[in-house]
């Protein structure tokens, strides 16, 4: 029986009063995730937007206990909480790290890899807004090809990011952990199913959730959900799960032209036809790679 939206509790554990920007995909992610995980949860937040908009002392929008230590140690801090709770006989508590893409793909990947290799009994969520948003839109390893950020500015010589997005879920699959999945705030039923699943599993669970950032993407804040859908339909972001050695694609992309996805976003405004062609080719390759992996593991 899969979880439906009407099954979710009324009460928000990520409540009103937070200071996220209008249309923040990260805030949508936090609200949904906390509804599924429930009160019996300890959270870890590294330095990122979520930590800052979630509360400034003495205010706090979270109704569960949480810890912040630093930026790059989310996985090991969550693991430390979990081990300590086990020692105290509180084995049933969900321990969840909510890290950004920068805190995951870049500076936090060492601690993440270590915790995954040890199969620490935690849930690690990477909400992916494709840049360092908290510090003002700098590129991360998760920023897509071509995107403008403040550190990949549109100059006369070089315009936008020159490398494609780092495929962290694949890196996590290589760790052979119990569960790796990608999701998106634009597909709430798929997201709920995955959140519910990780909640009821043991061992290291990795979930990367696509979370558009209208501020950083130079996007109309009312288009957060829409842009997330275009990402999946164009193949920029694939929804899949990896479990028991098998990869399952949850939504086959229509492979609409990537141009449709780029158009509403100011961060891609400068792209030349040639750059768009390069990106289209990269997206095609990524999809073929994902599909090949899904087929070969079944």
């Amino acid at each position: 029986m899969s979880l439906k939206i009407k099954d979710l509790p009324e009460e928000n554990l990520f409540t009103k009063g937070h200071t996220a920007c209008p249309g923040c995909g990260g805030a949508i992610m936090a609200k949904i995730a906390m509804k599924v995980f429930g009160k019996n949860t300890c959270a870890y937040f590294p330095a990122n937007c979520l930590l800052v908009f979630g509360g400034t002392y003495p205010l706090n929008a979270f109704k569960v206990p949480y810890l912040h230590v630093l930026f790059e140690n989310s996985a090991v801090c969550a693991a430390g909480i979990k081990r300590a709770l086990n020692k105290l006989g509180k084995e049933d508590v969900n321990v969840v790290a909510f890290a950004g893409d920068g805190g995951t793909a870049d500076i936090g990947i060492q601690a993440l890899s270590g915790a995954a290799e040890r199969n620490e009994d935690i849930i690690y969520i990477c909400y992916d807004n494709e840049a360092y948003m908290n510090t003002g839109i700098q590129r991360s390893g998760s920023t897509p090809f071509g995107a403008w950020t403040t550190t990949t500015p549109v100059g006369s010589k070089i315009a936008g990011k020159e490398r494609f997005k780092k495929d962290v879920p694949r890196i996590m699959i290589a760790h052979d952990v119990p569960y790796v999945a990608t999701a998106s705030i634009s597909y709430p039923l798929d997201l709920l199913k995955k959140l519910e699943k990780v909640k009821n599993m043991k061992g290291f669970r990795y979930l990367q959730i696509f979370a558009p950032c209208p501020t950083g993407w130079r996007l109309d804040p009312s288009k957060t959900v829409e842009i997330g859908k275009l990402a999946v339909e164009s193949g920029m972001w694939t929804l899949y799960e990896f479990e028991n050695g098998k990869m399952t694609i949850n939504k086959k992309p229509k492979m609409i032209p990537v141009r449709e996805y780029l158009k509403p976003q100011g961060r891609f405004r400068h792209l030349t036809d040639e750059q768009i062609d390069i990106l289209q080719e990269l997206v095609k390759k990524k999809w073929e790679r994902d599909l090949a992996m899904a087929e070969s593991t079944h």
Partner: protein
Amino acid sequence: MMRMVTGNYAVAYGALLSRVDLIAAYPITPQTFIVEHASEFVNDGLLDAEFMRVESEHSAMSACVAASATGVRAFTATASQGLALMHEVLFIAGAGHLPIVMPVVNRTVASPIGIWAEHNDTMPQRDTGWMQVYCEDNQEVLDMVIQAYKIAENKKVLLPIMVNLDAFILSHTVEPVNFPEQSKVDKFLPRYKPEHVHLSPDDPMTVGSFAPPEYIQEVRYQTEESMLNAKKVIQEVNDEFAKMFGRNYHGMVEEYRTEGADAILVTIGTVTSTAREVIDEYRAKGKKVGLVKLRFFRPFPIEQFIDIAKRTKAIGVYDRSISFGSGGPSFIEVKSAIYGHTSIPMINFLAGLGGRDVMSDDIELMLDKTLEAAKTGKVEKDVVWIGTRGVTP
């Protein structure tokens, strides 16, 4: 029970006797054996602790911070580069009032890469909110691990602490050590039950919230207050330990033959043992010299040094580390402590850097120069480098 053990074994056994709940550690020479012994204790069922074999020291300290914030007794150990890598995380434990105990096997910090005794790893950590104690022998190492938890977990303190031991000179040297009985240690050091911090869904608490300037200054003040409170607690714990186990380390500093001394030498770490012998020889010859063993570097024994300075004519301070452009850290601190209370001359002696042996000749030179200063009331050079090629001391 008397056993012949290395400093590293004494550390690991101290953790076992302290019944630590969680260990997170990463190996580095010369600390490796601590991690190995602790692994054996856990795998043999002698110690019931969660053991996180993390992928770095940054993660080791992060795990200890998270576990301590959750409410358990946490332990790690490191040295040199490992401590430098932890630096960023150390502040969180200090300001967060997390009573983690961390033995540090003092080792050279690169460059050049070296593995022998030096205090340039721990000295730069002095402003992180950690207490620091430096040991002279393996017995003191074992005893101080146990005392460290008692000091750190005291409600008036609640600060993390480093228990320091010199690379190889203690870590790898076998010495007779009296192992206290578990039942006695249990009585001395009860289970850790924090009231100030926990992470538990039945009583939600935010730990480490983003904070504006309106609140951070008070947090700084509280850490300082705890440091100052620790001075009294260190003495109380020392005295209680002495009563129960019969070994007295005299708290923040230990004075050795300082009565009527014209010149006093301040030492830190294992050099103290060599200095004791030279002091005995000088005293036998009628030379009025005394020794102060600097044990706690944080909090710093300011009051003790004011008192000591008033009873002598010159002070020499030995350092196994240097704050480039200023002098040895202990020298700077002692000088600052006694400022305004007396104007006796002071000299700094730098020796044994990078793990070079400090011999009795070197100590003699320190004593002679300090005696000379006591006689003339003057010093030629504030900072004296001993045994350095091309440099006249």
